[in-house]
């Protein structure tokens, strides 16, 4: 199983029937592929839609029905559309149960940096800052390391997205939560040892007595 599939499958287990969920671009988008059909989850697209469905079949795309990246999507029966003030009212107002975002760095206290690399990449924060500030649960879905460097760091060197700690980070190696403000190893990926996780994690990790393997 490749890294992205491990992450997407594990994050999908965090969703529950009735949840209003916002998925970011990249690995987070893949999460929808692993949500079992009996689980009735509402997906929000922040450009103004609840009830986002799969990419339409060829020839059925509508130019006025798109995701936040401008790509054609479909709307499921029961979908609703609204303006951007409502969309971000939902996000900032705590009505979104779970948001899943990509990350560049997460620090030992769970603070996320994911919107710019000064001097290199300044795309803008889009909806990320509001999502991290306002969603009930914030899950970061990202590779554990980039080019051999840990993305779970002692202190973020990149500009923060929010000072509010995220709830959980799911990587291709581990599930980490921030209990009492400290990075805590909850699970390891299949055939990854605790020692291997610790070796590629810059932030100090709390290791509980029992660290099960992800069931994916």
């Amino acid at each position: 199983m490749d890294a992205q599939t491990i992450i997407a499958r594990r994050v999908a287990q965090e969703l529950h029937t009735g949840d209003l969920v916002n998925l970011g671009i990249g690995i987070p988008t893949l999460v929808a592929n692993y949500v079992p059909p009996e689980l009735k989850v509402f997906f929000q697209s922040e450009n103004g839609l609840i009830g986002t469905g799969p990419i339409p079949e060829q020839g059925l795309a509508h130019p006025l029905l798109t995701d936040a990246g401008g790509r054609p999507i479909s709307a499921l029966p029961g979908a609703s559309t609204f303006d951007s003030a409502m969309s971000f009212g939902l996000i900032r107002g705590g009505h979104v149960d779970v948001t899943v975002l990509g990350g560049l760095q997460v620090d030992a206290h769970g603070r996320l940096a994911n919107w710019m690399i000064p001097g290199k990449m300044v795309p803008g924060m889009g909806g990320a800052m509001d999502l991290v500030s306002g969603a009930k649960r914030v899950i970061v879905a990202m590779q554990h390391a980039a080019k051999g460097k840990s993305k779970i760091v002692a202190k973020c060197t990149l500009p923060l997205t929010s000072t509010r700690p995220v709830s959980m980070v799911v990587t291709d190696m581990a599930v980490i939560a921030f209990l009492d403000g400290r990075a805590t190893l909850l699970e390891t990926a299949p055939s990854v040892s605790i020692a291997e996780v610790m070796a590629v994690t810059e932030a100090e990790l709390v290791i509980p007595d029992n660290v099960p393997e992800m069931k994916i």
Partner: protein
């Protein structure tokens, strides 16, 4: 409301004007108005739009024609030309969180001085802004945003100027239709009064100054 040609409407926009443009990645953007802005070469524009779209689409066309001197947006990552013009200091770009962007415009249209938001507290976004504590929570004071012109795209407009929008093409359009001195609208379809039921009107007719005729 007055029905006018696209040429006539764009002729009212002076160079250097501030314009709000509806749309999200070019979806729900009044393309005919932007094509005419490019044709009439309105330079030195101060553009307020969620994003820079992509080259050849939406406000991306304004960057293709180098007509923008200032951009207030939330994301420009998918338009390399906008990024190049920003890095070359040809365009001054103010990047703000999307929820803050829309609330500042909403405030501008609703007679409010601004809004208090928790988004951005403790980040680069907070620099130079007043922080206000309310009931133990820290908020940023984000001031209202208005423009001289709003360029809005609707799905249906009736002969009076009542508007409805379609699917994800609604986005910032109804909010911007409240927050500019002059509101210019294109619509996919223009229909007789009464076709849009009162309960379905999103933007009431008195907000619309000019409707671009179709055909």
């Amino acid at each position: 409301m007055r029905a006018v040609s696209v040429e006539e409407a764009v002729a009212m926009i002076p160079p250097g004007a501030s314009i709000m443009v509806g749309g999200f990645m070019g979806v729900g953007t009044p393309e005919r108005l932007l094509d005419e802005v490019v044709r009439q070469r309105k330079t030195d524009l101060s553009v307020i739009c969620n994003d820079a779209a992509v080259p050849g689409k939406g406000v991306g066309k304004l960057f293709d024609a180098t007509l923008v001197s200032r951009l207030t947006a939330t994301h420009i990552g998918l338009n390399p030309k906008a990024q190049q013009q920003m890095l070359a200091n040809q365009v001054a770009v103010d990047l703000i969180p999307q929820g803050t962007f829309v609330e500042r415009i909403r405030a501008g249209g609703c007679g409010l001085g601004g809004v208090l938001t928790p988004t951005g507290v403790g980040t680069l976004v907070a620099e130079g802004k007043r922080q206000i504590e309310v009931a133990g929570t820290t908020f940023l004071l984000e001031t209202a945003l208005r423009a001289k012109f709003a360029l809005v795209h609707a799905f249906l407009a009736d002969y009076l100027g009542n508007l409805t929008y379609a699917l994800t093409a609604r986005n910032f359009n109804p909010i911007m239709a409240m927050a500019a001195d002059t509101v210019i609208v294109t619509a996919e379809h223009i229909v007789p009064v009464g076709v849009i039921a009162p309960d379905h009107v999103v933007t009431p007719a008195p907000l619309v100054d000019y409707l671009i005729t179709n055909g």
